[in-house]
Each structure stands twice: as C-alpha cells, then as structure tokens.
Assembly symmetry: D2
Amino acid sequence: MTNTLQTAVVGVTGYAGAELARLLLHHPRLKGKTPVFAGRVDAKDIARGGQPLAEIHPQLVDSRGSGQLIQQPFSWRLLDDLGVEVLFLATPHEQSREWVPEALKRGLRVIDLSGAWRLTEAANRAVYAFEDIDSEVAEATQAEAVYGMPELHRKEIKSARLVANPGCYATSVILPLKPLVAAGLVDLERGIVADAKSGVSGAGKAATAKTHYMYAADNLSAYGVFTHRHTGELLEQIGLGASEIVFTPHLLPIPRGILSTIYVHFKEAQTRASVMRVYREFFADSPMVRLYEHALPQIQYSVKTGYADIGFQLDGDGRRAVIVSCLDNLLKGASSQAVQNMNVMQGWGEAEGLE
Amino acid sequence: MTNTLQTAVVGVTGYAGAELARLLLHHPRLKGKTPVFAGRVDAKDIARGGQPLAEIHPQLVDSRGSGQLIQQPFSWRLLDDLGVEVLFLATPHEQSREWVPEALKRGLRVIDLSGAWRLTEAANRAVYAFEDIDSEVAEATQAEAVYGMPELHRKEIKSARLVANPGCYATSVILPLKPLVAAGLVDLERGIVADAKSGVSGAGKAATAKTHYMYAADNLSAYGVFTHRHTGELLEQIGLGASEIVFTPHLLPIPRGILSTIYVHFKEAQTRASVMRVYREFFADSPMVRLYEHALPQIQYSVKTGYADIGFQLDGDGRRAVIVSCLDNLLKGASSQAVQNMNVMQGWGEAEGLE
Amino acid sequence: MTNTLQTAVVGVTGYAGAELARLLLHHPRLKGKTPVFAGRVDAKDIARGGQPLAEIHPQLVDSRGSGQLIQQPFSWRLLDDLGVEVLFLATPHEQSREWVPEALKRGLRVIDLSGAWRLTEAANRAVYAFEDIDSEVAEATQAEAVYGMPELHRKEIKSARLVANPGCYATSVILPLKPLVAAGLVDLERGIVADAKSGVSGAGKAATAKTHYMYAADNLSAYGVFTHRHTGELLEQIGLGASEIVFTPHLLPIPRGILSTIYVHFKEAQTRASVMRVYREFFADSPMVRLYEHALPQIQYSVKTGYADIGFQLDGDGRRAVIVSCLDNLLKGASSQAVQNMNVMQGWGEAEGLE
Amino acid sequence: MTNTLQTAVVGVTGYAGAELARLLLHHPRLKGKTPVFAGRVDAKDIARGGQPLAEIHPQLVDSRGSGQLIQQPFSWRLLDDLGVEVLFLATPHEQSREWVPEALKRGLRVIDLSGAWRLTEAANRAVYAFEDIDSEVAEATQAEAVYGMPELHRKEIKSARLVANPGCYATSVILPLKPLVAAGLVDLERGIVADAKSGVSGAGKAATAKTHYMYAADNLSAYGVFTHRHTGELLEQIGLGASEIVFTPHLLPIPRGILSTIYVHFKEAQTRASVMRVYREFFADSPMVRLYEHALPQIQYSVKTGYADIGFQLDGDGRRAVIVSCLDNLLKGASSQAVQNMNVMQGWGEAEGLE
C-alpha cells in the first residue's frame, strides 16, 4: 500500500523522541515517506544540515541508512516544504504552548506529548503556571484539544486536529479506574488510593540532582505527594473530586516502566467475574490493553511493548480490590500512545506498527 | 568493661545471619567473648570442625581473624559447653518451632528471627500451618514470647525469655501507624492502605524462580495481595480489624531496603505540628527511630543503618496523610532489631553497637 | 508473498527461547505458518494440549492471539504431522546431542543453539565431556555441522543441514578479531587479551546460587578463568593457539548484553584508516555488524537489537589497539543469530525480520 | 584514651566526603574532638552558621546529634580558631592546587583526596593542565608530597606534611602489580593489561550526561582509552614505561566498587605458591589488604569495607596470570585510605576505625 502521509517529529533527542523515531521508521503505513526530524540543532551541526540520528541515538543505526537521517533545524518553512501533515511534538510544554496554535493555523494535525493541552484551559494555567500566550488563542486551541487516550475517546480523536497525549502516570491510573467508576461500582466516599512507581526515564534527559545515577540507584523515593501535575488529568478523565483519590508517584531504580497499585472499595460485594465483565466490555475494542486472567501484571511484561496491562485481586468479601496496572512510560505512557492516536486519526488499525 | 555475655547465632549462613555476625563481632559490650556460630554443616567441613566464616561471608574477613571463626555443627551440647546465655535463631520457622521450647528448657534466653512465635498461638498455627509440636508446649512457649519491637514493648522485652523478632514489612508498617492509631487520630472506618516495597534479600537465600536475577531485575511485582503473612502482626500490634487495613508487598529490584507508603484518613483535621507531636511523644525514648522534619525518607538513607525512618505529608485540609516509612529489611527489619532487643534485655543502651 | 516454511522451536521456555518465539512470530517471511512450539510439558498441562505462551512469556501476549499459542509436548511425530522443515533447538546440550542426529535422519534442517556441535567432534567431547552417543553417529553428525556465524561462513551455512549456533561470548570476541588476524595484522606472539562482561540472562533460567539476585546485583565477578567453554570456539574460528589469547568472562549486574574489551598488539604501526579498511572489507556484506566511526560501542546501544557493534581506539604509536565489541547475548549472541542463519539457509535477505 | 587531635574536612558534600565524615565521626581515637566540616555554603544557610549534616547526608543522622553538625563556610581563620591539625581536602583538584600550599604554610598536615599532588610536578601539569600557581611554590609543595598508599610508602607517610591520596583506579591496579613487578617476576616486554570497571560514584556528584541514570543503568561503557589520568600514577608507582601497560576504565551500572582484571606474563613459570609467597611477603604488615587463597574477589565482598582484595589464577603452564583486584572506590579508593594515612601519620594502628 502506498503511503501518502508525511509525518514529522520535533524533539527526537529525548527518550520519548527516540521511541517515536523507532516506531515511525518501522510503521508499515509510513514506508513511503521517511518521517522528518526537526529540533534544536547546535551551531556545529548547522553546516552539515543538522545532526545525524546515529549520533543522537546510536541504537537506531541499521543497514538501511536510518542512522544517516538528520535532525534538521526546526522551521515552519521546513514543514511546509516537505508537506508535513501530522506533527508530533515531543517538546517541553512551554514550547508546545507556543507552537501548537501556529501549527493548527497552518493546517497541521498535531499530536502533542507535553502536558500543555491536556486539561481545561483554566486547569492548564493553574497546573503549569502558563502566563504566556494570548488567552483567546489559548482557549480556542484548548477547545480543539482531545485527550489522547483512544480507549476513552476514540471517536473524538478520529476527527481531532489537536491530540493532547496523556501523561504516563495518568494513563497508568485512568485506564484501570475509568471502567469501574463509570460503571458505578466504586465507593468514592471512602476514597481511592493510587500508589504509582516509575522508572527514571520518566524524569527526562536533563542532568539534574534527581536524575543522577546515585540518586536513583538502589533507592526508592516518593515525591509530588498531593501535588503531582498528573492529578488534574486523573480527576478530569475519571470524573473524581480531589478528595476522592490520593495519587503518590515514586521514583523506581529502573530505566523504564510504571506499575501502579490501586486500591478501591466497592459499594457492593463483587466477584472476579463481575469485575472482569466490566473490564472486558469497556476494552472490547482496545487491542492495546491486556487484561490478566489469573496472575498480576509485572513491569517487565509490558516494558518495550505498547500495552497497558491490568490485573486485580479481590479480598474475601469482594468489598475491596487491589488493582495492578503496568505499562512502559515511554511507550503506552508516551510514544506508542501517540502513534496509536495517529492510527485512529488516520482510520488505520489501532495496533498497527505497535505489535 | 569486661563482657561476660556469651552469645550464639544459629543460621549465620543467610543474609540476616551475616548481619548478625557483623553486629555481634563489633558490639562494644561483647568484646570479651566471641559469639558462637552454629548451624548445618556439610559433611566435607565436619573434618575441620565446621566452615570458616571466610568461606560463608568473605566480606567479613578482617585483620583480626574474624574470617577464621568457624560455623560449627549445631548441638545443644556445644551451647552448654560454651556457656551460651543468649541464643539468636536465624533459622526457618519450622526449625524455630522445634528448637525454641528446648532452648527455654535449657535456660537460654532466645531471640528468634523467624515468624514462629510472633502471634498468639492460634494465629501462629493459622498463618504458618504448624501441626508439629505438642500444643501444650506450644501454648506455654507462646505465653513466654514477647513481640520484639522495643519502641512498643520495651518493658516486656527487658524481662522476656523469648523475644519474637518482628517481620521486616511488619516493622516498617507498625512503627508509623501505632502512635497515630493509639492516639485515636485515625478514621479506621475508611480504611488504611499500606503499600510496601522491599529489596530482594527479604526473599531469602534459597535459589528459586522468584529470587532469580531475571525475575527481579528491572521489574516490580506485587505479591501476597490480601494474603501476606505479616498481616497478622500488623493487626495484632496496631490493634486493627482485618477490614481496617490493606497491606500489599512488592518486590523491588534492589538488594536491600523497604519503603512503605501508608495512607490514612484522620477523624479530624490535623496539622503538621499536631502529628509530629504524637510521633515525638511516642518515640521520645527510641534512639533507633528517626523522624523527618521536612523531607521524606528514602530507602538509601536507612540502608546499612539500624534506623527506622518516618516522614509524612498532609493534604491541604489536614484530613489525609501520606506517611513514608523506610528501613533496611536485614537490619531494623531483622538483625539490628534483634541486637537492639538484646541491648534492652541486658539493660544496655538501646543503640549500643548499632550506631 | 506466501510462506511455505514450517518452523518449530524446542525449548521456548528459556530466555533465548522467548526471543526466538518473538522473532519468528513477527518474521515477514513466516506469516503464513505459525511456528510450532514444543518442549517438556508438565503433567498438569497435558490435558489441555500443552502450556499457553501467555503463561510462559506474558510479555508475548498480543491482540492477535499469540498468547494462546501452545507449547505442546515434544514428539517427532508432532513435527512430522505438522510438516516442520526447519527445527530450532534451544535445549541443553545433552539434549541436542541426542536429538540432532535423529532430526537429520528425518530430513529436518536444524539450527542448534546449544554448544554440542560447535567444535570438532574430538573437541566437543573434551569440552562437554560427552560420552553418550555412538561415536560414529557423532562424527557423522559433526561432519555436517557448520559454525553458524554468517559473517564468517555464509556460503557453508547456505547449504548446511546442521547449523551450530555460536556461543554468545564467542560471537562477541570472534567478530572483531577474525578480520584483523586473517589480515595478518596481529602480533600473536605477544598475546591477545579478551576481557568480556555479560548480563545474567547468559547464565540461564535455572535458579542457582549464581543466578540468585543477591549474587549478581551490585556486583561484578570474574569466572571461568582460563577454563571457559567458549575458548574452544575462539581458537578454532579465529585460528589461534591456546597460548595466543586469554579470555576472561565476568558476570555483569544487568539482565542482558555483552561488552568485550579486546587488546591486541600490531606487528606494524596501523592507522585508524588502515584498521577501518580491514573491517569494512570483511563486513562489506554483513548487515548485522555495525562499525563505529568515532565513539565506542556501549552495551545499551545493541541490547534488544540483533547487531554486533564494533569500535576501537589505537594508541599514539598505532602499535596497540583496544577494541570494544557489544551485542545482546540473547539476540546476536543466540536467537537473532539463529534467525539470521535461517535467512541465509533460505536465501532470504540476511537482516529480514531482524531490523 | 583522650584524643587531642582536631581534624577538619573540606568538601563533605560529595560522596567521598560523606564517607570521610562517617569514618571520622566514629574513629575511636577522635572521640574527644568532633571533626570540623567546612566548605562552600549557600547564601541561604549562612544565616544559621552553615548547613546541617542532616540535610547534606540524611543517612548520617544518629541519636547523638551528628545530624546537627554544621558544614560551616570555609575560612583559614576558622581552622586556626578551632586548632585544626590535620586537614582532609575532598575538593576538586583546582581547589587543592590553591589551598594546599597555604595549608602547609600554616603548619597544617594535609591529606588531599584530589589528584593535584600525586605525580611529579611536571607530570601534574601535563595531566591536569595546571597553569595556575607559581611554579616555585608548586615545586616546593610537590617536594613535600608523599603518595598516600601505606602499603608502599608507610615510612614516608609517617613523617609527611602532605599526603597525596591516590586515585581509586590507581589503587586497584598498583596494589596487585607492584609486588610482582618489584620482585622481577613480570615479563614487561609483553605488556600488562589492566581492564578496570568502576561504579558510578567514582564519576562524582555533579549532574552530567555521564552521571545521568539513563546513561549508566543496564549499560557498560569503556572510556579514557589510552588517556585516563590515573595512568600517570600507575607508571610512576609501579615503575613502568607507557608501552608496558594498557589501562582501560569502564563505567559499571552500580553505585560503588571497582574490580580490575589484570593480565600479566611471567618471565619464568610460576606456581600458585610462589606467587602467593611474593604477595604475603609484600603485604605482611598491611592489615587493609586481603589475599584470597582460593576463590577470586568479587566487588560485593569489599564494598562498604576499607579493604583491597587480591586474588589470582595461573594458566596451566604457570606462564600467565589473571589477577582480580577489588575495592570500594569511595573507601580504599578514597576516604578509608585517607583515614588509613592519618593513622600512619599519627602512629596509630593502621586499621583503627576501619574495621
């Protein structure tokens, strides 16, 4: 099949960017047109047109020349000239705030991996302290944004011009909770606890005290207690009040992967079968969610895959459940979910290029 | 000061045993009399009297000959001949069930690191499926047992003949919860969540599928959901009904250390000061508990130390708290707590040999 | 393109087996006929025909039913009935010794991942202490065996009935040395040093003292000094006498990946260009070898890929070189090399299904 | 015994600094006078006199108030006022270059953990590119410097005013080689290979691309090939020409520990006994070196101890040896060696406070 879709990735330098590059370079529907890579390019590389992928991500070098692909200096002109239609932004949220309105104006369809457009505009401002762009533009842009979780918003994503790719922790907690809360099973008054643990790649490529090997290795630490940015997404998407859930992220001494242990009380006693029924129904058309029949998910089963794994166990009374949710923070928590969104937008099989 | 106390360790081969050996060999009060090491000795070592510590734990070799200390084949006769007064058992619980009554009969004071005597006798049987020893003997023995957590039972430990050293996870969860529950602050009806994560040494030295490097590395897994053995200790010691707490252990990809994240609701709004006051009062005489004023504990701060670290954060309303509790599972979760118990039993400074 | 090749994997339970399954299930040339998985099946699974892949390797579950594929009890009858043509053996070498002659007799083409057929028959017996099968059969079988390193033996592999897949360490050391030694550059009298470091998956799935998490984690250990089994392959393939190379493996605290640091003296001064020329020429037709122009390879660049990465640095005089060679022990060190051999045997692109 | 020695540590913030603090705070000979901690102090801490140890290294908090010890702003006046006699510098080498001459002028005895004074002055300049201080001062200072490896220079250290604490890799390679080379056993013409692997703490506390968790985790990389700074120490101390040894460091994915695998050729065939004899003789008075009789050292046996572990294996002919040398890069590779030097300078037992 001939591919006519020209994609582009801005911000291929980071970890999520590397995964985006890998997925797009091997996507069966994109074989005809190599993705465009653009971003910030050092002065020393301008002379040769940009920086080769081989220098940014040596692991991507193959026998077909992928290593010689260049990350070119970003410009809107470049995207125009190359006929880019779908733009993936793997940039800091301040950058996305600036560029997304412009991209939409230029008729591009945008999949933004930052957190800039995931909430209502008022919530965006509150969470990210944005004071930057014109509030009318912001409101108009936010109005176009669809929260990029296909399992929840497949229809809207299909026709969206702007897809706000969800946060990694958020994906890990929303997917297992939404079906149960939407089905009215959960006793919200007693409160939900989401205890999440993520590998270090989620903290980004910047060298900081917290990404120092000695900070993370052989260690576990809780952070963002009652304050983490992803909480806004949890509340909006699942439909919860702030007092109905506590979400605590932890930094795990591994490169990638998230495991969230979620504790719920049920209004009435449930059985394994009754809960599985709710999940199966909700995820009937979702190829990228794997439901565990017996064992519980473990991080290693989903790392390097684009799946979100969900498993659970009930107490003897069937009144309480411990749900375990695992995914790869760089894949289902970022880049593979972005490609999954592209698949939906293009009307392709949702799992194409991801299995 | 002349030391007249002869100690012995059975089961120095395991990880907790290595720590016990290290602590006892360097304890300032035990300088006069080297601890006796006894255990199961291979046929090939019987000829030379036993197995040298240098072969079991090469890291313990020093310039003073510690490496040449021998783990001798266990016999009651050996303990008698050497005048052992305090016996540390770092053996499987089935062994402790058998040996503890005999040790008490022989006038030894016993600190047992297994789980065999931590609960009421009925509970012991239920949790560990013991069917072995005579029930009268078991009841009589259990009646002598004191739960070995000095912060809670200092007085009873002082005169105890049998100290049941607590489980590692249990220590990590009981210490931060007991003060708050005892002070009547916690809304038990809403339920407590204790999400615990432990390094692999807690799983023991036996080579099994679950202690295989490939099972634990770069992974996180939840296990013992609603079923872990330490739950009995939590309920008894904190004073909770089974429906008032959910405890979920996880296997962390690190050698040692436990971090427990504990979620409580308060009956009434609290402040940081009011909660700290309760902790400070409860732990006023406890040198081996460190309360964190500002930051939260992290596993790496307590690993290789005998401390239990406790920190917390309240939500804006002061109605909910996330408590973080860290300790080294082989030390405060086992061997240093055992030595701490010995210190109490002997009337020595509780932190001697531990700081 | 219609696929007519029926493959089978015996021993899919192990780590290399999981990778073989993954590669074959996604190989573009094998889409028509799902690989057959056969092996030792527990009694409890016989009733349902075998054990589902979902239970053996949960990470392989996908939306197309791969998880429901069954590892069936092995029998020659099964392979006959299903028309198996190419048989991958990921079994212990004792098993391969027994089964390979039988497979050849039945007209199967075999790719054996064990070490049983990698050397001359006399050497096999010496290294592996085989005393088992009839020596005439063994000789005849060995005579058919081709050492499965396409970069060295492409022609012979193409027509081979039995491919002896190389050892992981061996691959890592042979690939960077063969070209230089074959070109006569190396001063063998001064001796070559190959200091190799491998992740724990190379030690196999069996739970032993050496695969215990606590043995490997935060540790490095040298083993098999002057005695490792792979030495025989090094000597035969590179063409060295035992006194001309020292090879020392080490156990690295990571799940997968090998880095070998190789030290050579040159007979005459070399330049970067002269050495690169030798490598480029030797590997001109080898898509699965990546030569590093500037930086040195690192384990993380080749893990989860089927590439062998080679880089080097010369001293100021050009008389000595330090060569760094990296690959994934489960892929180029085992399973992807096996699939690469199948590609050669079938006359397909050598990198098909591997990039 | 009353302690009259006032020590001070500049640079307690780093990893080696934390270990120095720990060792000095618990040194039996230093009980009377708490070490002074001085360094660079943020403006926000000046008001309260400096920064408490509890904030810099939470793991050092104990029940005796160690956590409240303050790292005060450095000044020579402070050291004078407090009567400091022995000054430990755990500062960057540029700082040591500046401060050491001044410290000597003020009559302090200095133990410098940086690399600034380890070589001849000419070599220092070449290796570290120092252009800073007056060359006469530098020459005079260097003339006072003694290379701080007690096993080699005990006598000179005893009377030294300036002890240049050796590099970690250097210690790991010099200790096992010096005895053999000094005894004339080694065939230097054939060249020695030292392949060294170190945990990440050796790279320092600064957050850089190379100390980023994602750079080190699940990875191994060689660096400083033919160029590492420690080479100068190896050549000078062992007495080798540059062409007689190749030294390659690697970054290991662990927090601490070094293992060096060293390859030598002997002029004449040796036996295990003959080699052990050389080592035993050389290290007869060295309590901090442990010689392995049978097994080989592993990193985990020496981590968190102040020992250098040496073991070896000969080939069948006794003509080649593989020597394995392990130590903790922060202890015998830095801080415990510094304390060991202090012990020698003070005429105390060399192992005091280290076992």
